[in-house]
Every structure is written in C-alpha cells, then in structure tokens.
Amino acid sequence: MAHSRLLRTLAFSLALLPCLAQAPSGARIEGIVVDSISGAPVRRAVVQLRAGNSGPALSVESADYADVTGPDGAFHFERVPPGSYSLSYARSGYLTPHSSTGFSARSFRAAAGESITGLRYGLVPQAIVSGRVIDDEGDSVEGAQVTLIAYRYTAGVRRLAQMSEAGTTNDRGEYRIARVPAGKYLLQASLDRLPPGSALIAAARTPGGPLATYGSTFYPGVTDPARALRVELHAGQELAGTDIPLQRTTMVRVSGRLIGPDGTPMSRAMLMLASAQGRLPTGFGAPSDEAGNFVLKNVRSGSYILNATSNDGRSLSVPLDVGSSDLSGFIAQASPPLPLRGSATVQDAGHGFNLAACGVSMRMADTGATAGTVRPKGDGSFSFESLPQGRYLTDVFCGGMGAYVQSITVGGEEVRGRDFELVAASSGVRIALRTDSATLSGTVETPDGAAVQPQRQGHPSVVLIPADARLLGVETVAPAAVSAKNSFDFAGLRPGEYLAVAFDDIDAAQLQDPEFLAALEPLGTRVNLLPGGTQTVTLKWNAWPAGN
C-alpha cells in the first residue's frame, strides 16, 4: 500500500482542517490506477478530490485533496468529510480523454464512515510522433508547425480538423508531438509562423518572375491532402522518422469578383479558400472591395472551395481550381435560391397523428449547416420558400410521438440518409412515416456481471447503430443515458437490425465516423427490432475505445 501523501492548497486546507479534526468518521476512499493497455499499475499518478459538483480540479492547486499513487498504483484518502466529490486522475505520459481540464473525472457521494474501496481507474498511454521537416535542398526547416490532422464528422459532414497541439521544429528541423490519442492522422507542416531569418520567407519576397515558394506540406511530402498518407498510431506507440520534405510550388495571382445570390456585388466580404479535399482552411484569403472585386496575390495551384461572407450576412461557397498561371476575372456567384415543396404522410392508419407537430429540416450536404426548418401543415404539406442551390440532406423530427421515417423520396428516388441536388427542376420531397415503431430497453452490467457503479465506471451511455453499413454515420440514434438503476430506454425506433453498445463515456464526434462505428461490432449486442415490438436486452459495459 502506498504511503498517502496529502496535497492541498492553502485556502482549502485552512477551511478543511477543522472539519477533518471533527469528523473522524469521514469516508475512506481507495483504489488503484492502471495502464489501460497493459493493465500494469501506474505509479506517480496524481489523484485528486474536489468537493461539490464543480467538476474536476483545474490544477493540483485547486484540488481539495490529492494523493500520488505508489509503485503499486494505489491511492487512498482517509477521513474525507461526507459530501459530493469529483475524483480525477492523471499522469504525464498518459492521455486524459474527453476532458478539457486534463483530468479524467468520476463523481460520487461519500457518506460518513463509508469505505469505498477497490476502485480501479485506467489511463491510456499517449502516442508520440516525431520526425524532421526539411526543404527541397535538404536543409532543416526551423519553426515549422507540424500538426496532426484527421477526418472528423461535424453535423454529418466529413472534414479535416486539427487534432493535436502543434509541434514546432527546432534548429535541426526536428519536431515531436506527444499526448496523441490513438488514431489515423495526416501530418501537416505549415509555415505560417516561421521565425525571422528564414530564407524560406525571403524566397517569397524576391522580385521578378513567377513566385516559387514553400507552402504547407503533408506527409510524406505532398501539398494535396488527397494524396497525403495517413499514419496510424496505437496507444503507447512512438512513431519516429515521419519526415516531411517541403514542396516548392508556384504561387499565382487569382483575381475576380464576388456576386451574391441576388445578383448584386458582395462588397467588403471576407473571402477564404479551403481545400476541396476535407475542407481544411488554407490561410489563403482576402477582403473584397466596394464593387465585390478581390485579389489573392499568392495562391498555390490546387483545388479549393472559395467561401465568402459579407457583413450583411450573405455568403457563397463555390469550387475554384487554380492552375499554374495567374487567373483573372473569376466570377464567384451564388446561384439564386430556389423554393422546395413536399409532403409528409403517415403510412399506417394515422389515427389522429398530428403531422403539424413534426419538423422537416434541410441540411446542406457540403457544410452541414441547416438552411431551413419548417413544420408541415395538418395535411402534411410543407414548403421552403428559398433555399440556396446545392446538395441537401433531409432531417425529419417527430420527437416523442413514436413515429419513424420509412422513406424519403425525391423524384421517385430514395434519399433517406443520402443527399440530393436541389435544382430548379427538382420535384417535391415525399416523406413517408410509420407509427409502428419499436422500443428497446435494458440494463447494463460490468464485464464481471456486477451492476455499474458511477464511481467506478462513470456515467454510461448506450449507443444504437444501424446494422446497414450504408447508414453508418448517416442515420444516427441519439445515445441513451443509463439511469441510476442501470437501465436505459429507446423509443420511436425504426424497425430493423441494430448493434447496441454500452460505454462508460462517449465522444459524440466519433459517433458520426462510419469507420469507427464499423469497428464497434465486437463490443456490442445485435438486436432485431420488429414493427411495434418491444425488446429487452442486457448489455456489457465497455470502456470507450481510446486505444487499440
């Protein structure tokens, strides 16, 4: 057993010392911190208790009690005054997932004289990636920012997002990024913040001739994210030698005019280019003038999405392909908006079902932004007066009424879970609902068959995933929280086959990733829900798969 080392701030120690003296019957809390992958004890982890429901301590200094695990990974607190606590644990070299504070947290109540023992908390070891950034002459590049980038799902749209702190290259061009969660990443070296004295900057200033300079480059040395290699990192892995040779490319001038959906110039609009692949911000941007004219002085050739927003709230988003020579007179115009009509019907009986209580939303497939939401009339008809042209996903909400969407068709084509193109000739949207939805309820137990305790496993949720691979990440069911009695309920489900999985903690963004969802198969239980049926299932609790 470890020697307990109590650590606390002055402010709290003054407040709590009298309590400790008067409350010999305080609670006793003890447990162990282990490496989630190897199961080995983790020594020198900091375990903290913070009173109340204010969440985990922001730092060691703001904790009420803290202990440091011994060589056996054990920690203990004694004579803890009764009350609610948030317990958090952390260790350098280990990740602290789903926590903005850097500590994983568990909350619970401690009663007078209570002995809470046998707690077991897992920490996932960090992955590390390191390498060098060099230029095309083989020289080290100092001050390049290397970031890990991964595809993430936001509002159902897959896009590239920065996933780590930037690792800055040193004078030898070396970078090292620690605290990386397991996963598949693109590595990007960007040169936005090069230190003074970098000849790379100077190259960009040399007058005369087309400008050839270095720009953001992806591992293993490509400028197009579509051609970048993904590196896979496992928990605890250290991946060295991922060198990024910078590519020198020609920069060209792009000029043109921004015209809003109403045909008038977009004056004083901010224009930004994002990569066509993954919509990663590129840093190329400029404002337009009073007449909507813009000039981008140095743009690298490639495929982009040009996004512009003016002060009056008008925006446009058009593709822009930049070749190896200057491009002038580019007219970026948003197409005029279009109306869209449709109707919703209830297929089975429909005895008094109030369609006017439902909602229909049109979500833009390329950005995930909702362009409009309407309520159908009593007869099920609905219309959107003006939607920007583009591709759309249809969302239907009939919350709490036990209805589900059986099909959504546009021009006779099934578009449930898929996007369709809104053009002038688009026919109406037909939504077919049914009320013979299924319900699923059940309980969650720990791998050893015991009931779940919040102080041990946190607050579990159950995730329901459609078995149809085409619907992964497209048709999502909101996760259900597991109650204090370890039970959960889903209602209004579309009949069909699902995978049900219980987790200690979930990361909502990952639940939109089809690749991630497909990998959950071995953890869950398959259920086949029949129309109007009710099913009960007992699920095993799982730790959120932070490592593999």
Partner: protein, 560 residues
Amino acid sequence: MTKLAVSFLLPVTLILGQTTPPPAAAEAKKTATIEGVVINETTKEPLRRVEVGLRGSGTSGMAVIGNNPNYSAVTDAAGKFRIENIEPGVYRVQNRKAGYVPSRTVQGFSPHWLKLAAAESLKDLRYALLPQAVVTGRVLDDEGEPVQGVTVSCMRPLSRRGFPRMYSGGQAQTNDRGEYRVVGLESGKYYVQANIQRMMLTGAAPVSTTTAGEHKTALLSTYYPNALDSAHATRVEARPGLEISSQDITLRREKVFNVSGTALDVDGSPAKQSIVTLVQDDEVFANEVITGSGVDEKGKFTLGDVRPGRYTLALSREDGQSHRSTQSSITVGDADLTRVLLQLPPTLEAKGMIALEGADKKDFDFKIWVNASPADWSPFGGAGCQAKPDGSFTLSQLTPGRYTVNANIANGYVQSIQVGSEDVFGKEVDAATLAVAGIRIVLRLDAAKVAGSVEIPEDRKAHVNAPTVVFVPADARLRSGGRFMTIELDQTNRFDLQGVRPGDYLAFAFEDFEYGAFEEPEVFAAVESQATKVTLGRNESKELTLKILPWPAQFADRLQ
C-alpha cells in the same frame, strides 16, 4: 525618462528625435544597387541561403524598429547576394540565417549602416555570421523522472552602470522526455535555469506535496546542475558552433512555507488593484521575482511555496500614470511567515513651470513630457506628466525617495532645472524637496550641431569599416540618464549630430565598441584621457575629425 531601462540598451542618441519611415516609392528616382557576400566567420567559408535584408531608417546610427526588411535577397551557393531597385536612403543591413547569430566583429567587414545615394552601386560588401551555440539537456525531478513543460532559460548578467541585469540569451520548454534545447545563443557564460513557475501542471508529477506529519515540500526553480541560487550554480560556457549537451538539471525539492499578511493603502484601507511580489536577495539575479500574488478585498495576500531565505517583499499599485510602491525585507525561516504588514506610503506632489529662454514663447508648444525617475533605477516608483500649454505641470503621487528630473524636447534642450536656488539638472534630488520648493525647467532652442568624420590611418583602411562615434558630456554629473550619444557610422564615414545641448564634450571614435561596457566607470576612466575635447556654444556648428582609438585592452572581455 521613466523607461530608460529600455532605451539605454540601444546604441541610440536620445536627442535625435523620431525614426522616420522608409522613403516611399517615388517615381523617376534613380534607384541604388548593392551586392556582396556573406561568410561564416569561424570557417571563412561562404554562407548560402542567408537572408540579407535592408531596413530603412531616417538617419545612420538610429535604432531600427521592427523586423521586416524593406528589401531582401537570399545568398546563393557562393554566399553572394545582390539587391536592386533600392530607393535612395539610409538603411541598416540585417543578415539572418537559421542556426547563425550576428557577428560582432567589425574589422575586415562592411558597415551595417549604408547610406545609398541615387543610382549608387555598392559592390564587394562583405558580411559575416557566427554559427550559433546550443545548450541541451534534460530536466529531472527529485526522483529522476523527466519533467515536461518546464521553461529552461540561458541567462547572463550584463552590468549597466553597476546594476547587474539578466539578459536571456534564449529559452526552451522541456518535452515529454524532459529534454530541452536552447538554440541561437551567442558566445558567453550562461546560467541555465529551469523555471518551475511557468511549468504547465496538467497531469504532471506532483510539484508540491505534504507528507503526513511533515513539512510541505515543493519542486523549486533550479540552476544547472542542482543549485537553488546563482552562487552555487555552474555557468555553462557557450562557444560559436558548439553544441553543449547533457546539461541535465535536477530540480530541487525543498521544504517550503507560506508568506502571508495584509496590504494596506496609505489610509489604512485594503490596498486595491495591488500586487505583492517576492524578490530573491540573489547577488546576480538581483531583481528576479520569485512569486507574486494579488491582494484580496480584505487586503490579505498569501504567497506559497517559498523556501527559507532572505527576500524583498514589494507591494505595488499601478494606477493610471502613477506607480506607488513600498518594499520590506523579510527572512523566511523554518515556519510560515504570517501577519506581514505592508502599507503604501503617503505620496507627494510636485508642481512646476517650464520657461523658455532666448526665444519667443508665442509660437512655442509647451506640451512637453516631464518626468521624475528613481535615482536607483528601480522599476518601482517614478512619475511623469505632460505640461499644459502655459508651461505648468504637476508630478503627482511621487513615492518618497531620490529622483532625477528631466524633460524631453525635440528641437531644443534643457538649460537648467531649478529647485529652490539649486540647479538639479543631472543630479539626484529628494521627492520632498521637489514638493516643497517646486520645479522650474528652463528650455532653450539654440542648440548646437556637430558633424565630422573619422580619420583612419592608411594602413588600417582595409580593416576598419564601421567606427562608432561617442559623445559624452565633460561634466561627469551630466553623464547619468543615458546622455552618452553613440553613432555607428555608415560607409561614408561621416556623422552629423543636431540638437546638442551647448557645453563641453568628450568625443571618441572606436572600431570595437560595447555601449553597456563603455558606461562602466572603470572602462570610461581607461579611455577618458584620449578623448577629443570639444566645446559647443549656442547655435554653434562644428566640424570635427576624430582619430580612431583602440578599445582598452584590459577590458577586451567586456566586448560581447
């Protein structure tokens, strides 16, 4: 001159006025061209991919603000550069390359100031860069584990008028393996300090712990290799191009105590908007703040993790233009220090008047900045104000103590500062005296001019290219307050100083020069007798030829 601490680091004359922006692109003006080579000073080999930048300025020798050059080029494989289409004007040459630091050698190299005339073409310029020094190592805790997120600084003390100040040559953060790598160092002897205060605590090993029944201990900022103060630290000698590795620092874990107490304003109410700082009594790191704390609404403050020792505890309150403070010496022993009382002292107010002599007051703008700077160069205290159009001014909230009073005027000079019957220009004066007697500042506009060149012996001409000219008031009491005027000459070898206060001066020209060292009394004494004496009368213009002097050999080590 409250902020003189900054200005006297720069080789700038304070009376020359503002830096003018670089000349705007003008049509039909013949542009200049420069070309030359950059070499590695150590190996004498040409350096490729050096950014050679020209930064525009109004006058030779003036400080250049900002980093971005107006013109630049990159050296080729033979170290050669060429910059064309340069607007005529005065420029500072900045040569930069990652992994290299500026060379301070002037002999045999071209001046860093260039005065470019229309259609001028300067060829065969020759510059050097020195390979950087690097210090690397690990920061470990008392159990030998790496500590991440510690800031490691390489610092060296440079003396300025007998006040040692620490200059950071470079710093770096430790990574997950506890490794640091400080680059871009110039040669010199450095203290290497792992600073725990700026450590990011998240998920890190425990910094401070209390073992049941024992005193609280904490990991403390530590000097290489394992020292709590500079006296026990081992300095690391950095040399150009050398990488000094394995400079591992083991953080010290020591018993620590709290220092707490009450901070009051002059009227006994809690001191609002105030901070309490603890400064270590360290010979070298004289002004290093160990820790600080705010003051709560009841006037209470607590500083944690303080190890036993002697400290200066300062209470300071920033309030608009005034800065009030008080200091107290404390000794932390083997117990918490509680009930420390700090109270801001009553402040004084000094009224004054600016008078213009020998010129018509009608067209004169009296909106002149007047200030009183602490005579001991303390960062605390001091006051400044702008005079009203009628010339009256009030220095309010002066903390009791000794001050020097000065006024800044662009086109004239301060003739005298009368306090009672005494002229305190360039002298220390007590705040109480200022408050009682009042201040009368006499200005004149008939300043002198001095221009000239430096005579370089024939046999030295190939080697001496950028002499530095220094003007020092002959009256020793006028030398305080950064009144040494230095001008680094451009390739034309001429200087031109305007707005000089009439009086007696000592003029020098050096090939090797270090401003901070030159201000040291013993260095100055070694060269004083070789000065060219010059007396400048009102409105007088003088032409001067100065002989080049060697830097005193016994102080060669003071050159950086």
